[in-house]
């Protein structure tokens, strides 16, 4: 009986914590709006800098590929996410 009450109180406390967190947390949309300001490019200079950095990274990654068939790896890791559900 006592253990049952302790367990129920424990569950209620956990639920209370979850609800408190939900109240304090930003909504998904509020978070997205805030982040949109962060990712927005400020000016031409910044855009050029982004493109230059990306091009360097892309070329480095492309020349570092060690597998013969990247598509097979892609299929293996993420291509069959749905297998268990079909």
């Amino acid at each position: 009986m006592e253990a049952d009450i302790v367990s129920r109180v424990g569950k209620l406390e956990a639920e209370l914590q979850r609800l408190k967190y939900l109240i304090k947390a930003k909504t998904l949309h509020e978070y997205v709006i805030e982040e949109l300001h962060r990712v927005k490019a400020i000016d031409e200079l910044e855009i050029n800098e982004r493109l230059k950095k990306h091009e360097l990274l892309k070329n480095r990654i492309s020349s570092s590929v060690v597998v013969e068939d990247p598509q097979a790896v892609l299929d293996e890791i993420i291509g069959d996410r749905d297998e268990a559900f079909s």
Partner: protein
């Protein structure tokens, strides 16, 4: 335009595929790379914004690490994606908001989270996963989904700029 990109689109954007030995495989990959490259370059230019769940960043990191056999390269790409895209982390409150849509999608965890986010934020979801594409198409336009393979370069170049981003 607000977009949600599947992990495979990022992978095609980062890997040119020019070194693939098999000619047919190379041709297929290079075509997909060209499209993904134009799309991602437009994102970097600020023409579009990308909103994705963090599991997509994790998948991109895993695939790049495997393809290059380098953990550092996987992390470098993941960091760049995090820098230029809106990454939504699956907190308790976010999951609570997404659950009703996840229940409708009825797919794998990652597919469902990606689709639910696209539906909630009203983004265009671009994937090269035909199964995911077809599954979402069955939702009577609940999610605006496009298959990279079926998009032409012109389709991508002519995607409208979101005026709110200009």
């Amino acid at each position: 335009m607000k977009l949600s990109l599947d992990a495979n689109v990022f992978i095609y954007a980062y890997i040119t595929g020019e070194n693939i030995k098999n000619e047919r495989r190379r041709r297929e990959w290079v075509q997909l790379h060209e499209k993904a490259d134009v799309l991602y370059t437009d994102v970097l230019k600020g023409k579009h914004v990308v909103i994705i769940p963090s599991v997509i960043v994790a998948e991109v990191c895993a695939v790049i690490s495997r393809l290059t056999n380098s953990e550092e390269e996987g992390i470098s790409v993941a960091k760049e994606v995090q820098e230029y895209c809106v990454v939504v982390y699956e907190s308790a409150s976010v999951l609570e908001e997404l659950l009703p849509v996840i229940a409708k999608v009825k797919g794998s965890g990652i597919d469902s989270i990606l689709a639910a986010l696209a539906a909630k934020e009203n983004t265009v979801l671009i994937t090269n996963d035909r199964k995911l594409h077809d599954r979402l198409r069955a939702f009577e336009s609940y999610v605006d989904v496009r298959l990279l393979k079926d998009m032409s370069l012109d389709d991508i170049k002519l995607m409208p700029i979101d005026v709110r981003l200009v």
